[in-house]
């Protein structure tokens, strides 16, 4: 049969509950910690001393106790927390034992000093980060020009071309189609008016009677229609020229009838 809980029992219960809640709160918050170093720094703060004067031995004990608590409460700690626990257990034993002169590597004091340095450094960075974020910030406390004027870029273009460019361009045109507007092309199949005039002048003296203009066409007309056309036109034009000069007469009986010419008798 159970006896009524005494006042002391109740107080004791409440006390342990408080402790448990406190420790659990601490542990449940493990997720909020950023790794073993973070927890070590939090634990170190409970020593309420300058981190330079921290007792690493005491800190190691605090941490190991924390890991024990976590095990009791069946909280699964990540591997790095357990690695740290193992390392601190090793450090603790080294710190408690007299130094072994035969042992190689850094002394327990050196290891402890480095751990203290790491904690101090992390603490310093956290303080600095807080100071940084507490500064006046752009866009929150001070501001940039709201109407920035953009620099306009003016282009000044210089065109270049060399004499070679010029010559190549001209050469390109010249080779393109051999078009030579200022020099008459050699035209094999054409008969110019100058040619016709020259021929007519030599022949006109013989044309005492009316004769067909076609008789005065140059040789080779029969085979080449294009040349014949050209020669006919030129000869006709030359004939008109000679009529104009008063050296010749010209007549045509009706449309499309043969055109006849004869030398004009001197008056």
């Amino acid at each position: 049969m159970m006896s009524e809980p005494t006042k002391e029992d109740i107080e004791e219960f409440e006390q342990t509950t408080k402790q448990r809640v406190a420790s659990e709160a601490f542990l449940i918050d493990v997720n909020g910690f950023e790794g073993p170093l973070d927890i070590l720094l939090t634990l170190a703060r409970t020593q309420k001393v300058d981190l330079r004067k921290i007792s690493v031995l005491e800190l190691a004990e605090q941490y190991l106790k924390f890991v024990e608590e976590a095990k009791k409460l069946r909280i699964e700690l990540a591997a790095d927390y357990l690695v740290m626990a193992a390392w601190l257990a090793f450090l603790k034993s080294r710190l408690l034992l007299p130094p072994d002169p035969t042992e190689e590597g850094p002394s327990a004091e050196e290891l402890a000093a480095h751990l203290a340095f790491q904690l101090e450094r992390l603490e310093a960075m956290r303080r600095s980060a807080a100071k940084l974020m507490a500064r006046d910030q752009l866009g929150r406390d001070f501001f940039v020009r709201g109407i920035p004027e953009t620099v306009s870029h003016n282009r000044k273009i210089t065109y270049t071309a060399t004499i070679l460019d010029l010559m190549q361009a001209y050469a390109h045109i010249k080779t393109k189609d051999n078009f030579e507007p200022l020099h008459m092309r050699e035209r094999d199949h054409l008969y110019t008016m100058e040619q016709a005039l020259e021929r007519m002048r030599t022949l006109i003296g013989h044309a005492i009677n009316w004769g067909d203009l076609n008789q005065f066409l140059p040789d080779g007309c029969r085979d080449d229609p294009k040349f014949r056309r050209s020669a006919t036109a030129s000869t006709f034009a030359a004939a008109l020229e000679l009529v104009k000069e008063g050296k010749m007469e010209i007549r045509q009986d009706e449309n499309f009838a043969p055109i006849e010419i004869k030398t004009k008798a001197p008056e």
């Binding site: 004027e149 004499i163 045109i173 010249k174 200022l182």
Partner: protein, 215 residues
């Protein structure tokens, strides 16, 4: 001057402070700020008109000035310093093929008309091309042709001769020399096939790719 309002609940900041506040607001705002908006943003009891007048005076003759834009106020660069907001960039460009061919024809055949240039090139010549060459002062107008329509002729200028290092137009290498130097060989011109119709668009200004090269 503002009348002192002894009955306001909160004392308005001193005039100098009001000025600072308006200065900061106008500096940081993305738009000109109206007097009403300034009044709304400033502590109660400020004399915005007077503060603006002071501030405007303070910026007189400075590199920026306080100006009224519509019904708002804004800082603007002093107009005489506008040149600082411009950056001049010098670019060298090659003349387009159309331009250089036109120029060559004018040089070799001057005085020559636009119709002749077109006959020689086999494509029409854009006004842009002629304008560019005129602008560069490499060509100028010659005497009009005494033929129907009295077309204008183009001739090359002293600037042209200077640019190409020629004493006179007669120094231009002749067709025979071109042929001898191999320039008249019947080989395709660089950058285009013969009778390439793309030549019809004589753009001188189109070489945006090239622009990038010079930036």
């Amino acid at each position: 001057m503002s009348t002192e309002q002894s009955d306001t609940l909160f004392q308005a900041p001193p005039m100098g402070e009001q000025e600072r506040m308006i200065e900061a607001i106008l500096f940081a705002s993305a738009q000109p700020v109206s007097k009403k908006t300034i009044t709304d943003r400033l502590p109660h009891g400020c004399d915005v008109s007077e503060a603006i007048a002071h501030l405007r005076k303070r910026y007189e003759g400075r590199g920026v000035k306080l100006v009224k834009v519509g019904d708002g106020w804004a800082f603007r660069t002093a107009p005489d310093l506008g040149f600082l907001m411009q950056k001049e960039r010098y670019e060298t460009r090659k003349l387009s093929r159309a331009a250089i061919e036109t120029l060559a024809i004018i040089a070799y055949h001057q005085p020559t008309t636009r119709a002749e240039i077109e006959a020689i090139r086999g494509v029409s010549v854009s006004s842009g091309t002629i304008d560019l060459l005129l602008e560069l002062e490499w060509i100028k107008l010659g005497r009009r042709r005494m033929t129907p329509g009295r077309p204008v002729t183009f001739i090359v200028t002293q600037v042209f001769l200077d640019h190409f290092g020629l004493e006179s137009e007669r120094d231009l290498p002749g067709v025979k020399e071109l042929r001898d130097s191999g320039l008249l060989d019947n080989r395709p011109a660089p950058g285009g096939a013969l009778g390439d119709t793309s030549q019809e668009d004589d753009d001188d200004l189109e070489n945006t790719d090239q622009d990038d090269m010079f930036e």
